[in-house]
Symmetry: C2
Subunit: 197 residues, 2 copies
Amino acid sequence: MSLALDPTAQDLLFREARTANTFTDEPVTDEQIEAIYDLVKYGPTSMNQSPLRVTLVRSPEARQRLVNLMSDGNKEKTGKAPLVAILSADNEFHEELPTLFPHFEGAKGMFDGMGREARERQAGLNAALQAAYFIVGVRAAGLAAGPMTGADLEGIRKEFLDDDHTPLMVVNIGKPGENAWFPRSPRLAYDEVVTTV
Amino acid sequence: MSLALDPTAQDLLFREARTANTFTDEPVTDEQIEAIYDLVKYGPTSMNQSPLRVTLVRSPEARQRLVNLMSDGNKEKTGKAPLVAILSADNEFHEELPTLFPHFEGAKGMFDGMGREARERQAGLNAALQAAYFIVGVRAAGLAAGPMTGADLEGIRKEFLDDDHTPLMVVNIGKPGENAWFPRSPRLAYDEVVTTV
């Protein structure tokens, strides 16, 4: 059974793509991130909520503040990666729905009425979908992603975001360096994941 | 700025791919779903948690039970799609970590100690990442996905899953039929999503 996606693209995005732990010094430009966003913004979310927000940590001072909030095992690579991005969910995403979902006038009001906790769940799910599209997009740009949840996420919220934004993960981005990968860990077999009713 | 991913693949996965609302009668086979899984299983999750589980709803009797639990606007298409999948998060994913993350012996025990609520958060985030990889994989197979959260998800849990599994979404899968798409909704501009510090 062959896929419609050509094997080179399969390798680039999934089969040979790996979470990188070291990077070369080659910079990652804003133009590259813009090209990635311009591709992955089309990935679907519930009612086009599009709650993902991206904070590029570029200044050495901000980078150091972020490194201080990473788990010990993630500090060194986060300090050395050419670019580091904080991916977060905008819990007030519904403010944008008059633009994002124009054919349903009641969308913003519906989420207003739902209350913040329900919106946080919606934003969390849909921003996670978009985080995955973003990781795929980084790979589509010929770069390696190093997504990490090992961090003081509440500290990252206080240091870099605000109460309306919930950080999901931190992603190192760049060309893979020497010994960039651990050995690939096993995956579950099809029958362990997929059942039929 | 051009991406490493060729334009045909960009179109297939993101630019021309759309959430389908109608489908042809062409069946979607288990072999196709297996090929999709065999690609997207490589998408990264935290500590290789891999909590996504997929329930293929194939029997007419099960399909009817699922349709009954969908929001009104999703009933007809869920009834007619060639294949419908329930995507869920396994909150006891850590039982598999001795296989999935073999180089860290303490992984299962760490998540045992965390308690169920913390595991549910981990499973929710990582299964959502994998749900996005799955949607990309459906498109990689030359099929259209119709992901939906408009459903009685708690009812779906009771009817099709168990307490250890939290449903995230239902996905219609097939070749797009007539008038399959709504007009594409707008996306946020780069500057509305990405900030730099």
